[in-house]
Amino acid sequence: MKLTYTLPDNLDTEIDELEDMIGRFKKSEVSPTEMKVHRVPFGVYEQRKKDTYMVRIRCGGAIVRPDQLEKIAELSKQYAADWIHVTSRQEIQMHYVDLDNIVPVIRGLKTVGLSPRGGGGNTVRNIMAQEDAGIAQDEVFDVSPYAVALTTRMIEEPDSWNLPRKFKIAFSGSSDDRGYATIHDVGFIAKMKDGKKGFKVYVGGGMGAKTELSRLFLDFAPEDQVYAITKAVKTVFYKHGNRRNKHAARLRFLWKTLGEEEVFRLINEEYDAVKKENPPPLAIEDIDNVAANLDLPVEAVADTKDYETWQMRFVRQQKQKDTFTVILPLHLGHMSNDQAVKLAQFLKPFGENVIRMAKDQNFLLRNIPGKYLPNVYTFLKATMDNFNRPYIIDKMLACAGASTCQLGICLSPNATMATRRVLEGADLALDAAQDIKINVSGCPNSCGQHHAADLGFFGKVARKGDKVYPAYNVVAGAIIRDGESKFAEKVGDVPARDLPNLVRDFIGVYVSKKSDYKSHEDYIQTQGKEDLKAICAKYKNVPDFDTDKNYYFDWGEEKPFSVAERGKGECSAGMFDLLEMDLGNIQITRKCIEELTDKDSIQQKQQLLKDVVFYSARTLLLTRGIEPKSEQEMYDGFKEHFIQTGLVDASCGDLLKIAASGNYEDLLSKENEVHALGDRIKFLYDHMNNAFEFKIPGQEEKPAAAPQAPAAANAEKSSSKVVKDFRGVACPMNFVKTKMELAKINSKELLEIWLDDGAPIDNVPGSVREEGHNIVEQKKVDDYWSVVIEKQ
């Protein structure tokens, strides 16, 4: 039985490289950007507290073994915060790790077969499986072995670490889609056909600032095709994903830029290509779910009433006879290191296959023999905090929020905590509402999964007079189920201050009306949304700052609310950051040369000239898939890919030779050529499209050497609506770009543009209208505007 994924052979080398890079970073030989580009795909994120890092550990199929949990907790004790964190992607995170401790942590994890590789950045992220796979009454078959085997395969492949953006895969065992297959980049839902195992395959969905449901790719694919299909979709994404615009990079944006037909055609093309290579199917080993035969005395329970309540709240019968799953609620996914060690040690006798992580950030303890439930109860009661609270309280899901996330707007965990206090103090039958899924995100990115909630919130900035205050959009009524999936819809908004009251009111109303409806879903889809609107209206009025300052402070904050410190996201450290850094190096060095005076030595000048050649040669090499290990390798690569291809003038060959020779004196007489080389690199960069092809006016197209298809030209054409993000583009260039896009589409076709508030929205639509085009829709989305134009 292969319960967890297998680490790739080259992991040691990669860890060594990371170690080397950290060493050089500390000596300032490596820039923070360069460091970031290596660090983030390793699942290591910088936290808001400077020079501390979070390590996100991959747990394929939501599985962690007790011995692994114990090791994580021990490492956390030694090197990180005094708690660990379970994510909504079914992983475990360690927080506040110092730079020096990153590598020891990663090496420690490796001893128990774990790695954070791919935990962040533009990578294949943790592969999810529904948390009750293998034990659910309704499942077609156990999908976790597929998630585990696919993880093993994906993390062996180098292109998994260098995608245009993150790439998420999930498995569900039944059409109830508890693995969220219908909102992933690639989603598999177990299905039987003619007695054979297989999957219904969905692609191109996801949650975020722009959510999108996945689209059905195959109604049935035999089980041995899981790898080939994933590989095909990944390759299409690798080739066609928009690498330049982080906000439009996920696979799901291809629906708009290429059109559904073209995307499916491309996937099929790659799928055929993969099939021709005939890769071995995934090595699937069934995972047993059996209650262990323990030689353990059964403990007696003192408080039977409390025990029964606990059973009602947290114990679920598995499809295996007399075998149970225990929900272990972790408030906001947190568990102390000590608790984790104790839990791991307690669980070891129950076998290896006893822990899963649920996407609501709780632990699930499975394969517990019925007779030992009292033992589990007694252990948890003695070990865990806030034991046996109504499930709805800890089921509430929140993203990390603005305290640790550089993108956050609101402090979602604090709002959630405040809600918990309000609920605990309210006289409500909370257990009657335990089906309700309440999710809170601090910003429009869907890390808190508000789009998938019964009642969801996502943070925003609201204004009253000249003051800003924290607030949340209120959404409701998501359904995630094969063929029926839909995201939660906006029903209103609420000041952060009143969020807990809104939740309390809603639960009160639900509990009182519940008996009239078939299910909580039935209620929310019909009356629930109306009730919520009414509740939102109740909290509409925000008092002035002078009347009640509390509204202008986020939960748990001592300073008035501000978004000034919001940083740029860490998530998308990518290739373009690196390229731009080297371009900047070229410019800076050239400026230094200009500013040299007679007092400066000639050696200084020749060194600077050499640096220009060095950076020029390095800048674009990445786009050809080359990461040179030595300077000579770099010059050789540049010669092969840029000089021999005619992209750069052959005369530059001499410059490289001099630079490589170590004696830079001869560069002095070639100063002009050195500058021309710098200019040429900038020129090439400016004329490079997202597929790294150079589109030089008046010249034949030079295709990229990397495996790139004719992407960009097609990408711009589409039968459906094209969306262009002109946020951050000032007047009148936003109008110029709009006209450029309009020129590409046919009459009556639609173009959606995003514009900043202020002058852009005041001017551009009017100018567009003046030219005879039709403004179909103009609406404010968060802090920007979406304008839909129909071409004349």
């Binding site: 006016p697 008046g698 030209a713 711009e716």
Partner: protein, 267 residues
């Protein structure tokens, strides 16, 4: 054709114009324009057409830059004195707009070479300073069915008209060059430098309108201005059925050189 980020910005003030837009700018960028004479008229015209992003600019001139040229021929600078005008102009164009491809013809036009020179261009701009060349350009363009812009300046006066095949040509209006000595040359009569700029840029505007395909060209109209009075007017002209080159029974069917150019004081 996809404009690059840089081009979008460079040409943004064109693109914003409803009558130009992206499509018009692309036409400009695909345009091939021949400027005959890189002197008073050709210099400003070449500068503006280069700045506008005309894809290919052909330059014809056999002269070298003279110190006396610099008062009005603004594409040439003091250090260029003695340099062939086409090369001097080419260097400036490269600096204004490296997107523009420049083809130089370091020679004068004559009956035996003009047809070959103009054949690859979409539009010809006459920036010459003598009647022989002006009539030769007219005849060649009529015979080759090339649109062109005529321009002439003297003292404080300027005139221009635009020919497109089928409409009135220069000979429809002026049958043949004036007798030698009847009209003084620039070198004899003088010219206000700025009016070269005024007329050359009008011609450039006509070229751009033609390339973009918008507006009313100066066809069948002769624009005349006097800068002393600052008086502008247009005179209607008609296609002449008896025109020796484009009339019903043309007598000019092959190109011949008219009498030697008159603006030859320096040689």
């Amino acid at each position: 054709m996809d404009l690059t980020e840089e081009q979008l910005e460079r040409y943004s003030r064109h693109i914003i114009l409803q009558d130009v837009s992206v499509e018009g700018q692309e036409k400009i960028m695909n345009g091939k324009v021949l400027i005959i004479g890189t002197g008073g008229l050709g210099a400003p015209a070449a500068l503006y057409l280069a700045a506008a992003g005309v894809g290919t600019l052909g330059l014809v001139d056999g002269d070298v830059v003279d110190l006396s040229n610099l008062q009005r021929q603004v594409i040439h600078f003091t250090p260029d004195v003695g340099k062939p005008k086409v090369f001097s102009a080419q260097e400036k164009i490269a600096q204004i707009n490296p997107d523009v491809k420049v083809i130089t013809h370091n020679k004068r036009v004559f009956a035996d070479n003009i047809a070959d020179i103009i054949k690859d261009y979409d539009f010809v701009l006459d920036g010459t300073d003598n009647f022989a060349a002006k009539f030769l350009i007219n005849d060649a363009c009529v015979l080759e069915k090339k649109p062109f812009s005529h321009g002439g300046i003297l003292r404080f006066d300027g005139q221009t008209m635009t020919y497109v095949p089928g409409e009135a040509c220069y000979r429809c209006v002026f049958n043949s060059p004036p007798p030698k000595g009847a009209v003084p040359t620039c070198s004899q009569a003088g010219v206000l430098g700025a009016i070269a700029g005024m007329l050359g840029t009008m011609q450039a505007a006509e070229v751009l309108k033609y390339l973009v395909g918008k507006g009313d060209l100066l066809t069948n109209r002769l624009l005349i201005f006097n800068a002393l009075r600052m008086d502008f007017r247009t005179v209607k002209v008609k296609k002449n059925p008896d025109c020796p080159v484009c009339g019903n029974n043309p007598t000019i069917t092959t190109l011949v050189d008219e009498e030697q150019p008159v603006c030859d004081l320096k040689r």
